[in-house]
C-alpha cells in the first residue's frame, strides 16, 4: 500500500481508522420479499476459473435498450486488446473494447440476448494466437486523489464501465449526478438464487473491490461508504473485513466511515431501491434517483472495474459469470471475456449440451431464456443457468386467481399485483396506471408465491409495452395534429396574402388610371410640367429634379416587379407557392 505521507503520528491515523469501521448500523426492512432456495453452491465453493479465448467473439452494434452503436473499426482491421471497437455517437453509452487481439472479419447478423431473440448486426472478432495489449496508462492512488473528479469520471466512461449488477446503466452517468452525494452504498447483496459471481469476486479480490469503493467515493465526494452483503456469504464478509484493515485511508481524508454490514437474506434485497430502504429506512421518491436522497448505489463488481480502470488503466473487457445448474459439469465462476458465445463457455466446462432444456441468462427470478447458444456474453450477463427438467420445472398451466393476496404480501414495491393482473388481462390500460404499473420492478416475487401459477410478470411486461406504445402513439398523434393545424393556418395565410395583393394591385391600377386621366387633363390645361409622376403626391411638387428622378426610378422598378410576379403567377398557378412552402416546412415544432 501507499506510504503514509502525512505529518500526523501513526497513532492518530490508527485511531481514525478505528472510528471508520462502524459496522453496527441500524438496519430497516422492506415490504414483502420471498425466500427462495439459495442454490448458490456448488458454484460459489468452486475456485474462479479463467475462460480461454473463444475463436470468434461477437459484439452487437445495438445495445440491449436499442441504441445503435457505431463501429470504430473496419472489416480486416487488426485490433489490440483494449482497443475501442464501437461507440455511441450520442455519448451516452460507454465504448466497447476489444477483449482480445485479433482481426475483425465480418459484420454479420446474429441472434441477440434480448428476449425477442431478434437478429442484430454484430462485429465478429477473430482472436489471434499472440495477444497484445494496448499501452495502458496507469495511475497511483496519490495521483488519483489529486485528479479532478470530472477527469476520473471521464476515464471511467472511456473504460467502458457500466453497472455490472445486471442493469448495465452507464456508471459515469450515475457518478456525475449534480446532487450532493453523502453516502456510497456498495451492493454486494446478490440476492438472487444461483448467482455467486459477486460472492466469488469479494472473496478473491476484496482489496480491489474496497479500493474501487474508495475511488468512487472520491469521484462523487461521498463521506460514508456502506458495503452491504447478505448473511449467506460469510466468507465474503470476512475477506472484506480483512482487506479493509490494509486500505490506504490516509489518502482519503474526507472519509468518515466505511461500514461492512450483513443484511438478512431475502429476495430482492439487492434491488437498488430495496437496498436503500434496508440501509437508510428511506424510500426513493417516485420519479427520482437515489441521488435525491444523497445516495449512490454501485455493484461490487463495478467498484472493482473502476479500480482497474483508474489504477491500472485497464478498460472493462471481461467479467465474472456464474455457470451453474445441474447440467453444468463444472459449475463455477468463470472470468469470461465479453463477446464470448455461450456455446464456448458451455463446451469449455463440459456441459451436456445435448441434454439442455432451457438456458437462462441472469438469475432464475429475473433472467430470461436465450434461444441461440451463439449469443454472446455481454456486460449485463452475470449468470448462465443450465438446469435439468426437474430442477426448474416449468409452471403448470395457470389456474384462476383466487385473490388470496399472497402477491400483495410479497411485493417489494407495495403494489397490488393481483389488481394489476386483472387490469392487464382485460387491457384496461388507464386502470393499470392507476395501480402504478410502472412502479413494478419485475422482480417476480408475486409470480413466485402465486398458488395459481399465473405468469404475472409476463402480464406486466405485456401491459407496460402496450401502455408505452399507446402513449407514444398519442404523443405522435398530438404532434401530427398541431403540424396539420399549422399547415392549414399557413396555407390560409398565404391565400389571404395573395388575395390582399390582388386587391392591392386592383387599387393601384385604378389609381394609375385616375392619375393618367388627371395627367392628361393637366397636360391639356397646363403644359408646363410634363414630368409629373403617375403616382404623384402633393409633396412631390416641392422635390428638386434630382430627387424626382430617383422617385421615378423606384416607381418604375415597383411596376416591373409587379408585372413579373403577375406573369409568374399566371405561368404556374398550380404550384406557385412551392418556394414559400419549402421555406416554411422545416419550421421546428
Amino acid at each position: 500500500m501507499a506510504p503514509i505521507n502525512k505529518t500526523d503520528p501513526q497513532k492518530k491515523s490508527q485511531d481514525r481508522v478505528q472510528t471508520l469501521f462502524n459496522d453496527n448500523l441500524r438496519l430497516y426492512d422492506f415490504h414483502g420479499g420471498i425466500h427462495p432456495p439459495q442454490q448458490k453452491t456448488p458454484a460459489s465453493n468452486n475456485p474462479q476459473q479463467t475462460l480461454p479465448l473463444a475463436e470468434k467473439l461477437y459484439f452487437p452494434l445495438v445495445t440491449e435498450k436499442g441504441q445503435p452503436l457505431k463501429a470504430t473499426v473496419k472489416i480486416d482491421d487488426r485490433v489490440l486488446t483494449g482497443q475501442v471497437l464501437a461507440e455511441d455517437e450520442t455519448g451516452f453509452i460507454p465504448p466497447v473494447h476489444a477483449p482480445a487481439s485479433g482481426k475483425i472479419i465480418a459484420i454479420e447478423h446474429h441472434t441477440s440476448a434480448h428476449s425477442s431473440a431478434i437478429q442484430v448486426p454484430m462485429l465478429v472478432l477473430e482472436t489471434a494466437a499472440d495477444q497484445q495489449w494496448l499501452e495502458l496508462e496507469t495511475m497511483s492512488i496519490e495521483q488519483v486523489v489529486t485528479t479532478k473528479p470530472e477527469h476520473l469520471i471521464q476515464k471511467i466512461f472511456d473504460a467502458g464501465i457500466v453497472g455490472l449488477g445486471g442493469a448495465a446503466f452507464p456508471t459515469a452517468t450515475k457518478l456525475s449526478s449534480p446532487a450532493k452525494i453523502n453516502q456510497l452504498i456498495l451492493n454486494g447483496a446478490e440476492c438472487e438464487p444461483y448467482i455467486s459471481c459477486d460472492d466469488s469476486l469479494m472473496q478473491e479480490q476484496a482489496t480491489k473491490v474496497l479500493s474501487g469503493a474508495l475511488l468512487i467515493s472520491h469521484c462523487v465526494g461521498a463521506r460514508d461508504i456502506v458495503i452491504a452483503v447478505e448473511d449467506n456469504k460469510p466468507n465474503a464478509i470476512n475477506m472484506l473485513k480483512e482487506a479493509r484493515e490494509k486500505l490506504p485511508f490516509e489518502q482519503f481524508d474526507n472519509l468518515t466511515s466505511l461500514s461492512i454490514i450483513t443484511i438478512p437474506t431475502k429476495y430482492p434485497s439487492g434491488g437498488e431501491k430495496q437496498l436503500i430502504e434496508i440501509i437508510t429506512g428511506k424510500q426513493v421518491p417516485k420519479g427520482k434517483f437515489p441521488a435525491h436522497l444523497g445516495l449512490i448505489v454501485q455493484n461490487v463488481a463495478t467498484a472493482k472495474a473502476v479500480y482497474d480502470a483508474l489504477i491500472e488503466g485497464r478498460p472493462l473487457i471481461d467479467r465474472l459469470v456464474t455457470l451453474t445448474g445441474k447440467l453444468a459439469t463444472i459449475p463455477s465462476n468463470y472470468l469470461v471475456p465479453f463477446g464470448t458465445p455461450i456455446e464456448h463457455l458451455l463446451s469449455y466446462s463440459h456441459t451436456k449440451i445435448d441434454q439442455l432444456v432451457q438456458v437462462i441468462m441472469g438469475g432464475p427470478m429475473m433472467g430470461h431464456n436465450i434461444s441461440d447458444l451463439k449469443t454472446p456474453i455481454l456486460k449485463s450477463c452475470n449468470c448462465i443457468i443450465v438446469p435439468t427438467e426437474d430442477e426448474l420445472p416449468s409452471a403448470p398451466a395457470a389456474l384462476a386467481c383466487i385473490r388470496c393476496g399472497l402477491c400483495t404480501e410479497a411485493c417489494p414495491a407495495q403494489l397490488l399485483p393481483q389488481q394489476l393482473y386483472w387490469h392487464s388481462r382485460a387491457e384496461e390500460w388507464d386502470k393499470t396506471e392507476d395501480y402504478n404499473l410502472f412502479d413494478c420492478i419485475e422482480c417476480g416475487a408475486c409470480a413466485y408465491v402465486c398458488p395459481s401459477q399465473i405468469p404475472l410478470v409476463d402480464y406486466y411486461r405485456f401491459a407496460k409495452k402496450a401502455v408505452t406504445d399507446k402513449k407514444a402513439e398519442q404523443l405522435k398523434g398530438q404532434t401530427a395534429r398541431i403540424h396539420h393545424e399549422k399547415k392549414l393556418a399557413r396555407l390560409k395565410q398565404l391565400e389571404d396574402e395573395k388575395a390582399n395583393r390582388r386587391k392591392q394591385r386592383a387599387i393601384e391600377a385604378q389609381k394609375r388610371k385616375e392619375a393618367a386621366a388627371l395627367a392628361k387633363e393637366n397636360e391639356a390645361s397646363d403644359n408646363e410640367d410634363s414630368s409629373l409622376p403617375i403616382d404623384s403626391e402633393p409633396t412631390s411638387k416641392q422635390l428638386d429634379p434630382k430627387q424626382q428622378a430617383v422617385a421615378d426610378a423606384i416607381a418604375r422598378v415597383k411596376q416591373k416587379k409587379l408585372e413579373k410576379a403577375q406573369a409568374a403567377e399566371a405561368k404556374a398557378s398550380n404550384n406557385a407557392n412551392s418556394a414559400d412552402i419549402n421555406k416554411n416546412s422545416g419550421d421546428p415544432e
Binding site: S115, I118, F462
Partner: protein
C-alpha cells in the same frame, strides 16, 4: 304564517341555486364543441383523408353530426369501438379490407430518384417532408404519420412504405394465453445447432 315561511324559504332556495347555476354557466363555460374535441382526440391524427374528409378534425365534426363511426382506416377496430362508445351508438362493421389491425408505417424517399418536384411536400398534411424545388427531398421520420398521401402524387414513384418501428422497439411481449390446463407454461424455441 307557516305557509308563507315555507314559500319564502323555497323562494330563497330557488333564487340562491338559480344564481349559483347562472354563475356556474358563465364561469365554467366551455369554449368550442367539447364533443368534437373528444372525438378528435380519439382519432389517430394521421390526416390521411381515407374517411373522405380532409383530415381528422373534419371527420370528428362529421361524427358529431351523426356520421358513421367506421370510416377511420388507420384507427381500425379499436378506434371504431371507442368512437361508438363515446357517441353511444352501436359499433359498425369495418369495411373488410380495413379489418386487419394496421401496423404503423412511415414513408421514406428513395433519395437518388427524387427530382425535387415538391409535389409530395404539398401533399403532406403534417409538414413531414422537407426540401426545395429541384433539390432532393427527405422525410422527417419522427413526424411522418404514414398517411401515404404523398405516394400517389410522386411522379417518379420514389416513395416507399416502411414499418414505423424496427428492431427491439418493434418487439412486443406476448400476452400470456389461457392454455389447456394440461399444458406447461413453455414455448419451444426454433433453434438450429
Amino acid at each position: 304564517m307557516d305557509l308563507l315561511i315555507a314559500i319564502g324559504i323555497l323562494l330563497a332556495l330557488g333564487l340562491t341555486f338559480g344564481a349559483l347555476l347562472g354563475y356556474a354557466a358563465i364561469r365554467f363555460k366551455l369554449e368550442g364543441n367539447p364533443l368534437v374535441d373528444q372525438l378528435d382526440a380519439l382519432l389517430p391524427q394521421t390526416q390521411c383523408g381515407q374517411c373522405q374528409y380532409p383530415g381528422c378534425r373534419p371527420y370528428a365534426e362529421a361524427l358529431a353530426e351523426g356520421d358513421d363511426v367506421n370510416k377511420c382506416v388507420p384507427g381500425g377496430q379499436e378506434t371504431m369501438e371507442q368512437l361508438a362508445a363515446l357517441l353511444g351508438v352501436e359499433p359498425q362493421e369495418l369495411a373488410p379490407e380495413n379489418e386487419a389491425d394496421p401496423e404503423a408505417t412511415i414513408v421514406l424517399i428513395r433519395e437518388p430518384d427524387c427530382i425535387g418536384c415538391t409535389k409530395c411536400i404539398q401533399a403532406c398534411p403534417v409538414d413531414a417532408i422537407v426540401g426545395a424545388a429541384k433539390h432532393m427531398h427527405t422525410v422527417i421520420t419522427a413526424d411522418c404519420t404514414g398517411c401515404d398521401l404523398c405516394i400517389p402524387v410522386c411522379p417518379t414513384d420514389c416513395i416507399e412504405i416502411h414499418p414505423a418501428v424496427t428492431g427491439f422497439a418493434a418487439w412486443k411481449p406476448q400476452k400470456p394465453v389461457v392454455q389447456n390446463p394440461e399444458d406447461l407454461q413453455r414455448i419451444p424455441i426454433q433453434w438450429h445447432q
